[in-house]
Amino acid sequence: MTILIVAEHDHHELKPATRSAVTAATALGGDIHLLITGHGVDKVAQAAAKVQGVTRVRVVDDLAYAHGLPENLAPLLVRIAPDYTTVMAAADSFGKNLLPRVAALLDVAVVSEITQIVDQNTFVRPIYAGNLNATVQTTDAIKVLTVRATSFPAAPDGGVAAIDTLPTTGDAGLSAWLSTEIQPTDRVELSTARVVVSGGRALGSAEQFQQVLAPLAAKLNAALGATRAAVDAGYAPNEWQVGQTGTVVAPDLYIAVGVSGAVQHLAGMKDSRVIVAINHDPDAPIFQWADYGLVADLFETVKELEHNL
């Protein structure tokens, strides 16, 4: 059994989520190959070869792959997938965009966003915004899986894999990349942060969101998160949204400030190790999930918290 993992990277480094997919593949057992696609990917291929558990790195270098367009990558994967029992990627915007397209062309299902591996064909995945877990078994000849990164630790370095190159399938002519805007942040990345400070609609404005939460986040070396209500109201950028439709996080410490605790928000953070909720409504649903709840006005409390750290 040989597993192919489609790597995500920025042409310099592998995304931590791809390393989590490697850990999941290790649990499945068998040889693990990492596929590196893009343009000018030597450096990231070298880095990929060092990931523990990876036995081979396969490189396809072509401008057509530079921006991860699924229309161009899917034909490549369809060509090489028959050599594999399993094709995997992390369940983030790259993997979720690409693997269903590949699966449809292979006429197989996707088991998406798996959080647990029961055996080689059986997986647990959350449904209904994480309210329930479904255990499903695939019957397809080639398994196509996406992996929830927060459920599997990132594979460390320590390997020495061979690198080989594969021919490109070129530009399919079905799409063109125009631009990418990644929000520059001087803070730790949300999805992998060890501490997250998240704000809800209660913050009241973009200015207050910053004034109240940013100093606390800075002191804790935390990433800032937000509810969808806060994002919709323009208090926080979309990239900060935690939840069913936003980023899934599982930090050591999640501090929810003025967050009611709707299921769609919980879906993105309830696997955090320690959850703190600050809310002035003692009946807010978030308190049912919080390890430590403080019923208080956030505008007084957060400052006090920050000062006493």
Partner: protein, 250 residues
């Protein structure tokens, strides 16, 4: 320009679902059902494109049981021109749904197909990409903005950490994110009128599509419960707990 919008009937997003007593599936027998919120955004976007004079006809299609007529009526009440039900008693997996939708697309020949980026029941986020693959057209997934011209669509996509813009020749498939728009409120008179409008029904078995499930559902269970938490009475007590008990602060 003709648009097709695919919609799904799902458990209403306010409902907290539970597993059946024997853990074999989700218990949805008596709960409130609604149009999948992401699909409602897709319908709204199509209506706005028609109001902007870009689209001329909007066809809504649902794959599901006879009861899915109610979400099609919701789409009619919002303002779509026609509705098609691909009727099946089986729950179709994303691959089978995509194959059934492909058959409808081939019949209707829309320039653009819109569909929610995920359904809030299985949370799979697969059907749009699969449909685009089967049609061999471009896909603009997780769309938060569309700019449509006669022969191309520029899609702003939500990606990890930011946004991306891609340009796709038409026809294409778009999957919609909640950020794309805020769906209009459906007024009661419109709902009453929509009740009288015809819905075309196709039997899924007549479309010559392999709908056999590829996944076997073994078990549905609630996630393990978290240990019950406590309420603290002050910031200093909170800090003490975080340091000494939870050991998440130095």
């Amino acid at each position: 320009m003709k648009l097709l919008v695919a919609i799904k009937r799902v458990v209403d997003y306010n409902i907290k679902v539970r597993p059946k007593a024997d853990g074999s599936d989700v218990d949805i027998a008596t709960v409130k059902m609604s149009i999948n919120p992401f699909d409602e955004v897709a319908v709204e976007e199509a209506l706005r494109l028609r109001e902007a004079g870009i689209a001329t006809e909007i066809v809504a299609v649902a794959v599901g049981t006879a009861q899915s007529q109610d979400v099609l009526r919701h789409a009619l009440a919002m303002g779509v021109d026609r509705a098609i039900l691909v009727e099946t008693d089986a729950v179709t997996e994303p691959l089978a749904t995509a194959k059934l939708l492909k058959a409808v697309v081939q019949r209707e020949q829309p320039q653009l197909t819109l569909i929610g980026k995920q359904a809030i029941d299985d949370d799979a986020a697969e059907t749009g990409q699969m449909l685009a693959a089967l049609l061999n057209v471009g896909q603009g997934t997780f769309a938060s903005k569309l700019e449509l011209t006669a022969d191309r669509v520029v899609v702003t996509r939500e990606i990890s950490g930011g946004q991306e813009k891609v340009s796709l020749p038409l026809p294409a498939v778009i999957t919609t994110d909640l950020r794309l728009n805020e769906p209009r409120y459906v007024k009661l008179p419109n709902l009453m009128q929509a009740k009288k409008k015809p819905i075309e029904t196709l039997k899924s078995s007549d479309l010559g599509v392999d709908q056999a499930p590829r996944l076997k559902l073994l078990r549905v269970a609630e996630p393990p419960a978290r240990a019950p938490g406590i309420k603290v009475s002050s910031v200093s007590e909170l800090l003490q707990k975080l340091r000494d008990e939870a050991k998440v602060l130095p």
